[in-house]
Subunit: 202 residues, 2 copies
DNA sequence: AAAATATGTCAATATGGCTGACATAAAATC
DNA sequence: GATTTTATGTCAGCCATATTGACATATTTT
């Protein structure tokens, strides 16, 4: 599917800005003779913004993961277990949208190497509740650091330009991009209603 | 690497909202006793927003691609060739951040099946300039449609809530999320300075 | 003439998805 | 209490898409 960023194994490259001199691009889309951005163009640009932002965004922790011989799959698990201590396997699968067989592989490695711990559920002893170990929390933090910095910087930069509620506007748009069925799931853990309890429904 | 969404081959599943009743999540992060979102939490939430928004966003065209037996890689190529008619292989590689061997495979298929056409560069005859064929433009459009709709809807919803410059703020943040080296590259094709010519430097 | 560049291609490998089938333990239901 | 359902784990194989390294070709630059 669409415009999902690839993985890039050994963080190499860094090409030095290509010449970009198009010859004769046949038909420059639609109505932008002088300086009008028609809706279609604006929307396609938004699509690309998502692509590029995400591409750069997820490029941050790669080097670190490589040191551990982990991949993005491991990162995702670590992140969401870190965010939802005691999450069940089923819930994790629901977030990640992968099969249990796929999850099993990375989860097994994470457990073997001591980043994730399991615990039998007390109410339902079939369940395996997942937690980060000390090492797991540590790695999680080191992985998140560059991403947090990136977001913080971006919000600052943009906020300075666009008004201090830029962050709020950004969040609202991002949230509105979700499938409706996922809104509440995500909203639950979000700051929108700061008072709401996070990740549980007692 | 981190929190990049998986591919989901045969668009199945759709789990019916799990129970989500955590037992005793040990330590609920940091300082949110009552209703305070510390910076770290806000930033982590932003990270997740990017993950979830992107996950849903790229899920749109999957069904369509499957009809053609294409994957996300094909979509990416079609999109960027469509946006940059006459783009060279090297430029495309630079955008996609993959190796030429990886590109070669999907590009070959797209050419064989008549969605992309090559043309020898006139100034530099080593170059292969890439264009979408009629069929390619058509597919590109059909792929983009649900994504455009999604973005349009999101901007509307959020704009209604957050003021009409929500779009502007959103774009500024998204752009600020990019690596500095990529800013100008991306800005070039963006609406920020509506007057600037797109994708060329004559 | 030699070197650098743009592209293509062969071959091997890894990651992380997928499917299907089956196994176990615990809970829920009849 | 027996049966069925649920949560999880696991084996085995497949596929898409990425990687690396090496090398070939045509063309442009030096």
């Amino acid at each position: 599917m669409p415009i999902a960023t690839p993985v890039k194994k050994h963080v190499t490259k860094e090409t030095p800005a290509p010449e970009r001199a198009r010859e004769t691009a046949p038909a420059e889309k639609g109505a932008d003779a002088a300086g009008e951005a028609d809706d279609a163009t604006r929307l396609v640009e938004a699509i690309e913004l998502l692509f590029f932002a995400y591409r750069d965004f997820i490029s941050d922790p790669d080097a670190l993961l490589a040191e551990y011989d982990f991949g993005r799959a491991h990162h995702r698990v670590i992140h969401f277990v870190g965010r939802n201590p005691g999450i069940t396997v089923a819930e994790l699968l629901d977030i990640l949208r992968i099969t249990k067989q796929s999850l099993a592989r990375v989860l097994k490695q994470l457990i073997e190497r001591g980043f994730v711990a399991q615990e039998t559920g007390r109410k339902d002893r079939r369940q395996r509740l997942l937690y980060l170990t000390e090492a797991g929390r540590d790695l999680n933090d080191r992985l998140a650091a560059p991403q947090r910095e990136r977001v913080a910087r971006a919000l600052l930069e943009a906020g300075a330009e666009a008004g201090s509620d830029a962050e709020d506007a950004w969040r609202k748009v991002m949230l509105a991009l979700l499938n409706k069925e996922n809104r509440s799931e995500v909203e639950d853990r979000l700051a929108d209603g700061r008072d709401r309890p996070k990740g549980r429904k007692p």
